[in-house]
């Protein structure tokens, strides 16, 4: 057992922190529930600067433009970026698409896509969910029909985060409607400028502008297929387990928690003792401190498994499920402690913590990322514990 980073890893973290301190002033940090276009663009700039230092894809092999380190370093990056509230961008390319191409892509695809991701030059969105398809991805309906040198795509994708900023969509489409449901699906990368792709705005309650993405006779060259035809579902599931440590999400919430503790230590709304001295608040803060520590360790467990060559599977679900629930517990707790003040949004008089508490509470309603909490529990029970289907 070793709960320390190596000296090199510690050094990387220190340098990263210096970089963030210098490059990301407090006023540019993201606020929960309030991602502005300006902040988003700023996040991309930071990515470019990280890429200059080979830090953006620090865990990728150097041949693909990465830093040549491993999952622990990538975890350090995610944790520190999240904690420093750098407006998020680029995570789908870096965390999901890149690893998939490394495993299943051709040399041409690797050359075409990977360095651009590592350099922070492109943004990806993910096209898995559809209007009628959520947790049960195997039932997806968007069709991709082979027509000579092209695939022709028709259908639509739902809940496309980053759609308005992305260059490419990483998507699953049905290539064989006759096959058993998981066996007729393929994985593609689609340039969003391709004719026939259109977006319908789909605003989220956390302030994000997502989209529904419509495919109307969209023609993609064969080179857009990633891996084997009809094996896409299996490819996607394998690589989904890659960047699932969830450290970014953890750290992003942890930062608000730490700010909240500081707030409670310094603030006494009734003019008496600080909030943190109220026995009930004290108790709740300690409970969440324990919850946050547990969440952190479960995330690092996933990163450690990756670094040791293992493929986390139910362990990633453990970390993700725990995180979704802990985030909600914290949001509810903070709401409770601050009373009506907690409901105030950024910009309102008296809004505590820049409105982050109100924002994180909206964010916490996102109980369904990478599958609902029910799906993660199914995975833990069936894959993790071997319980019967």
């Amino acid at each position: 057992m070793d709960f320390n980073f190596t000296l090199q890893q510690e050094k990387f973290r220190e340098e990263l922190r210096e970089f963030l301190t210098a490059e990301v002033p407090v006023e540019k940090q993201e606020i929960f529930g309030l991602l502005t276009e300006e902040q988003y663009q700023f996040g991309r700039e930071i990515n470019l600067k990280l890429a200059e230092r080979k830090w953006l894809a620090v865990g990728w092999p150097e041949e693909h433009g990465g830093g040549g380190k491993g999952p622990i370093e990538q975890g350090i990056l995610a944790e520190d970026m999240g904690y420093w509230r750098v407006p998020k961008s680029g995570s789908i390319g870096l965390g999901i698409v890149g690893p998939a191409i490394m495993v299943f892509g051709t040399q041409d695809q690797k050359d075409q896509y990977l360095p651009a991701i590592a350099k922070g030059e492109v943004e990806y969105c993910q096209g898995f969910s559809e209007p009628n398809v959520g947790s049960d991805l195997g039932s997806l309906e968007l069709r991709a029909e082979r027509d000579g040198d092209e695939y022709v795509l028709n259908g639509s994708k739902m809940f496309t985060s980053y759609a308005y900023h992305a260059n490419y969509m990483y998507l699953l489409a049905r290539t064989d409607p006759q096959a058993q449901k998981h066996r007729g699906i393929s994985l593609f990368i689609a340039d969003l400028k391709t004719s026939g792709i259109s977006l319908t705005p789909l605003p989220y309650i956390n302030g994000e502008m997502a989209a529904q993405t419509i495919f109307d006779n969209v023609r993609l060259p064969l080179s857009c297929l990633i891996g084997e035809e009809n094996r896409g579902w299996y490819h996607a599931m394998t690589t989904l387990d890659y960047e699932r440590s969830g450290l970014w999400r953890y750290a992003n919430v942890r930062r608000v928690f730490d700010d909240f503790v500081e707030f409670c230590n310094g603030s006494s709304p009734d003019g008496g003792q600080p909030l943190a001295e109220h026995p009930l608040v004290r108790h709740q803060l300690a409970q969440r401190r324990l919850g946050m520590e547990t969440w952190k360790l479960l995330c690092w467990n996933v990163a450690w498994m990756q670094s040791s060559g293992a493929v986390p599977n139910s362990e990633a679900s453990v970390a993700f499920l725990y995180g979704s629930e802990e985030r909600l517990r914290f949001a509810e707790m903070a709401m409770e402690v601050l009373g009506p003040y907690a409901t105030l949004r950024n910009g309102s008089p008296m809004a505590p913590l820049l409105g982050n508490i109100e924002g994180i509470h909206r964010e916490a309603m996102h109980l369904h990322g990478a599958g609902t909490t029910e799906i993660h529990r199914n995975i833990i029970a069936q894959r993790g514990l071997g319980m019967p289907r």
Binding site: G134, N206, L344, L367, H368
Partner: protein, 365 residues
């Protein structure tokens, strides 16, 4: 012992639901919200026409003189439909203060207007509101947070304390929101209705401004708050019941893994837990209403109902977002309307913690 509704109450429930389903679709709710006013004037007129603003106000002023059970039945429906407007604030909370503390002139001047919808009252509280005597009259200074619908109000009731004495010597005064020295700043929040920081800068008050006796407003305030709290519990109950119906309905037709998600035990059990909480909430809320109607103080009962309503709200919110999943994270889906209101109701009129604390205070030896 009878936990059923009377035939009249059933008719009230039924007609209220029918009316609101027709006249208060969520498109209207969204309009009211987006307008920034949290108010739908046309609907307000119709609601006044139905007598809802006087549901539990005396007949002598044009009210229906109904019981708190009637009021509870109605506010369940009002909550269920997410009905916009200052119904609770003006026609329950503030109107009750006038009714309990005011003199005949004040009642006659205000209550009929509240019932007809032309007068909109709101309440400003907080321990920074101070009245002082000057030149034989009173002046008001200080500020108050979270004043609901202050922008629409024709009169603000301020619960003030004297500048030189300590709480709880509450003096209730009526203030004209257009008076010189009154300024309002909007407080943007998760709430669907506007709330304001209202500042009173040495506002002189006319002679007939005091409701009841100087420094004797606490009892009226308490009693009115208690009645308003029960109405808010009813709203919460109505919303939770509606969320339960929405998720049950959705789970019945949304298909995953080849069958409706409503067949999955995890979904069923979430719904069952919500149902248990709704049933408990209903019993507690009606018990509190009934006790107040008996002229009993019902402190414990009101606190239990409100504390449970807070937990019920959370359960409904979590069940809704879990079962609707992705789609409920979009602005266009109605679930978010319910969860925003759940959260603001939980925080207002004393949150769960506050009411548990009141309850605990009664349990000492």
């Amino acid at each position: 012992m009878d936990f059923g509704l009377t035939e009249q109450e059933e008719i009230l429930r039924h007609s209220a639901r029918e009316f609101l389903e027709a006249e208060c679709p969520t498109s209207l709710v969204r309009q009211a919200e987006e307008s920034g006013e949290g108010h739908a004037r046309e609907l307000w007129r119709k609601i006044a026409g139905l007598g809802w603003l006087g549901i539990s106000l005396p007949e002598q002023f044009g009210g229906t003189g109904g019981s708190l059970t009637d009021q509870t039945v109605l506010f369940e429906e009002i909550g269920r439909a997410l009905t916009p407007g200052p119904l609770l604030t003006s026609s329950v909370l503030a109107a009750q203060i006038v009714l309990i503390a005011g003199n005949d002139d004040q009642k006659t001047a205000l209550i009929p207007g509240v019932i007809s919808g032309e007068v909109i009252l709101t309440l400003a509280r907080g321990d920074r509101l101070e009245t002082a005597s000057r030149d034989g009259g009173l002046t008001l200074s200080g500020d108050s947070l979270f004043v609901p619908y202050a922008g629409l109000a024709t009169n603000i009731i301020c619960a003030t304390r004297p500048a030189i004495r300590a709480w709880p010597d509450t003096t209730l005064v009526l203030v004209d929101p257009k008076a010189a020295g009154v300024t309002m700043t909007s407080m943007e929040s998760i709430a669907n209705y506007p709330q304001f920081l209202v500042d009173f800068d040495d506002v002189p008050l006319p002679d007939d401004s005091v409701l009841g006796q100087t420094a004797e407003g606490m009892q009226a305030l308490d009693l009115a708050v208690r009645r308003a709290t029960v109405a808010q519990c009813a709203e919460t109950l109505g919303r939770a019941q509606k969320v339960l119906e929405m998720v049950v309905e959705y789970a019945g037709h949304r298909v995953a893994f080849g069958r409706p998600i409503g067949t999955f035990q995890a979904v069923q059990h979430r719904c069952a837990d919500l149902r248990v909480a709704v049933d408990g909430g209903r019993m507690l809320t009606y018990q509190a209403a009934w006790k107040l109607d008996q002229g009993l103080t019902a402190d414990d009962e009101v606190s239990m109902a409100k504390a449970q309503a807070g937990m019920l709200s959370r359960l409904a919110t979590e069940a809704g977002h879990s079962i609707f999943a992705g789609i409920s994270f979009t602005v266009e889906h109605d679930m978010q309307l319910y969860s925003a209101r759940a959260k603001i109701s939980e925080a207002n009129l004393g949150d769960t913690e506050y009411h548990l604390d009141r309850l605990a205070a009664q349990m000492g030896s």
